[in-house]
Symmetry: C2
């Protein structure tokens, strides 16, 4: 066991992408677990777009990360020393580990054992926040129906790739993914069973949507916001639904992005656009995970992960989400 | 009875406001009612923002008005000659009269008798499309709750003024109207019982919303779109609801308007934005009108009308909606 804890703190609020001056690596003594607590070694860190939003000094669903404060993130840690009956050495737990080597786990801070038999990277992807976000966004907020024409953006990403596969499981009529580059598009259709893919880097999204969804989009699962959201608004079907999950296009570019022009199409189409956060579904996660495990067992759903090695590369891993450098869930292996 | 029918047709599609070259007055022989039909003299024409959208060559919930075609609108007409048992001379009926002196009424074209005891102008306002739009938009789409902080734009208009009063009837915690000019604002508070009014022509709407709704907006009923919609998006409360009813700010200015920047606040606030059309509620109008009649009888709701005399002034009457020259329902008395 190392006797020091490395932790990455917010040195400076980024204006665009995260760079060398955004974060600072610090070393401290190992934290000491108190009564009812355990010391755990962080093994995997979940890299999610929302981390970037926490770096801004803007109101959100959680407070911004303060300057000099640990970068917040979910993760999986292995118990190394325990003063609690809830945690045994060698056991894997997940919670808000942050970007560091060691963490104090306790019931009060929400650390839970991994679901039985679930490998750690799957616990962060399909069974983690991203997979669960796909599940509740598509089923609960979007109320996907048999026969629906479903469009999902950020389709090669962790959440988007799950949304498309779940839509197929739920008998959507057609599932169209929007992703950047021919390789990702090929992956969606060949590996994940999407019916069609639109390459936003090389194709005209509006024109391709009119072609691929001539009768309109019944359900659009939005991970990006911006121009792609606008194009989908324009192509909505009667009683269409837009699930707002993320707005990655604007996280690095607040205020600079062109606004949305087609909101009034929601009137003509009697359509609904609704945002949600997985935070509100925590009490329903166990049931959703059980269902996900069945589909996984039946080979109906796949997870892909993009593993980045080394805590020190967490900032680069985060940037991958915005450059589109990843396919699947980005995870830092510490 | 005059022996000629004056009718206003679309001469040219307007690019902004309707002007002298947009419409053309024509004279034709009186239409002759066939079997099961009646000839009716148009008495009142309902002037609604949606008429302007029908003048554009753009897809909508109804087809655009064709060039040389009669301007479409709702209205009330008096039966003057009848070949139908459904209509008696002297009786008032309503339907899509259009901008003309005479119309052929039939069951096939949807002409119905006015609700018992309802004066004709009220039949077009509180009991007409505008009042019913307020009713279903607020209650059904917006699901107004006791204690809600409700904001309505176009608040001195026909629909907006009804929304505010209905919100008070439904025990909203605070009702804030947005209107243009100090007189309209005074009218909202003094005459219609709004709790507060914001004058968008002379005040900073965003700043005033933060002041008037410091805990956020639970329900925003949007009649205007554009910058005011964006300001309300920014000030939404958790689980806020935005009812999209109209986007009058953009009807004369397609493409020119600045886009909406704050849609991603729908995610942070787990909020919903939904459009609707009263067309979808036609089967429920009778029950809603009964309820409206009770509130009217109890003095809980008032209707104000802005009457313009003369068919030839219908285009000016339509423009009033966009210059904000009206308070209440605009009706042309033919």
């Amino acid at each position: 066991m190392a006797d020091r804890n490395r932790r990455m703190v917010l040195a400076e609020r980024p204006t665009g992408m995260v760079d060398a001056s955004t974060v600072r690596m610090e070393e401290t003594d190992l934290p000491q677990p108190g009564e009812g607590e355990a010391l755990a070694r962080v093994r995997y860190i979940s890299i999610d777009p929302t981390i970037r939003t926490w770096m801004d000094d803007a109101p959100g669903y959680l407070p911004p990360i303060a300057i000099d404060e640990l970068i917040r993130s979910g993760g999986i840690a292995e118990i190394v020393q325990s003063n609690s009956e809830d945690y045994k050495p060698g056991e894997l737990v997940f919670g808000f580990t942050g970007w560091q080597d060691y963490v104090i786990a306790s019931q009060a801070s929400g650390y839970q054992a991994l679901p039985e038999g679930v490998p750690p990277t799957l616990a962060l992807s399909l069974f983690g926040i991203t997979g669960m976000t796909a599940y509740f966004g598509l089923l609960d907020v979007g109320r996907v129906q048999e026969g629906d024409v479903v469009v999902v953006s950020g389709a090669a990403g962790a959440t988007g790739s799950t949304v498309g596969q779940l839509a197929k499981i739920k008998d959507a009529g057609k599932v169209i993914g929007i992703a950047g580059g021919p390789e990702k598009c090929k992956h969606l259709v060949d590996d994940l069973g999407f019916d069609e893919a639109i390459d936003y880097k090389n194709e005209n999204v509006s024109a391709r949507l009119r072609e691929a969804a001539p009768e309109g989009i019944d359900l659009y699962f939005d991970n990006v916001g911006g121009e792609i959201l606008d194009a989908c608004l324009a192509q909505l079907a009667l009683r269409g639904r837009i699930v707002l999950c993320g707005a990655i296009a604007s996280y690095n570019d607040r205020g600079g992005a062109k606004g949305i022009a087609n909101t009034s199409n929601l009137i003509v189409k009697r359509a609904r656009m609704e945002g949600f956060l997985i935070l509100d579904y925590f009490d329903r996660l166990p049931a959703a995970r059980e269902e996900m495990a069945v589909w996984l067992g039946e080979g109906k759903i796949k997870s892909s992960e993009h593993i980045v090695e080394g805590l020190e590369h967490a900032p680069d891993a985060l940037n991958l989400l915005f450059t589109g450098g990843n396919t699947g869930k980005v995870i830092v292996q510490v």
